[in-house]
Symmetry: C2
Subunit: 159 residues, 2 copies
């Protein structure tokens, strides 16, 4: 993670892509969102979705996974260059999670982020707060999921 | 699911309880939120959390799992009594997800919900929209997680 001072509004990153297979859609749903249209092709065909589709939470969790792997690779690259690595602190939460369109079997979702606000934390002056618009879009470029995330990011010592 | 017309603001339900074990905290984190303080006791001890704690998303996913199992049991009970079962439709999304306190190994979280708003959908007149405050609280009664959920619920035919 870059230090808070090095993060600017408007910065974008693409974290990665994921293609949703039927088996993982069903496995996730069985564990965390056991609804018929996420578990069974025939039940999904009879539902308002018309075909098996991923739990909306599954889409969010893949965003999270790819975001964390991206950050880890970024930290590794900083260390290779001998640069200091800032801590990514906890997230106080998020707002306005929207599932715009279903994610069907075979859809490839591209997960990305854009910084929309940065400010120094009043309660924890050694940290800044960074707000991002986080998105998933399918192979047609259609937005399927978005939310506004927030996280504490370490400030540069003495910065 | 009860029909939209039978759901009143102020209705509450407790979906269930879950005790978070170290192994499942690590397994979830490895899959969806690979950060050191969710994966490794020693790294967690050095972090701002001070000890291994669950991914905030893990807490939300357990809320979702227990909510869906509760709804399924509710539907089964309606069918046993020969009463019609309303469809629970998709959720347009959520807002104001907050992780108030960490969930540590051994914490038992009680997951609950309260209806805060109901209105007929303008875009889909056969459906109503129900808004809930959804919560998780630990064994000391401390709120650890909350968000405002929404979902489409079928209206009574001819209602």
């Amino acid at each position: 993670m870059k230090f808070f001072e090095d993060i600017a509004v408007g910065e974008k990153a693409v974290f990665g892509r994921h293609t949703f297979a039927a088996e993982e859609i069903k496995a996730f749903a069985a564990q965390f969102d056991p609804q018929p249209f996420h578990l069974d092709e025939a039940a999904a065909a009879r539902s308002h979705f018309g075909a098996l589709c991923a739990s909306g939470w599954h889409t969010v969790m893949l965003w999270m996974r790819l975001a964390m792997l991206y950050r880890r690779a970024e930290d590794d690259a900083l260390r290779v260059r001998g640069e200091p690595v800032a801590q990514l602190g906890p997230s106080p939460g998020f707002r306005d999670l929207k599932w715009h369109e279903p994610v069907y079997v075979g859809d490839t979702i591209t997960f990305a982020t854009e910084v929309v606000e940065t400010r120094v934390s009043k309660s924890r002056p050694a940290w800044g707060l960074v707000f991002n618009v986080n998105t998933g879009a399918n192979q047609d470029g259609t937005l399927v999921m978005s939310f506004i995330g927030s996280a504490f990011v370490e400030r540069r010592p003495g910065g």
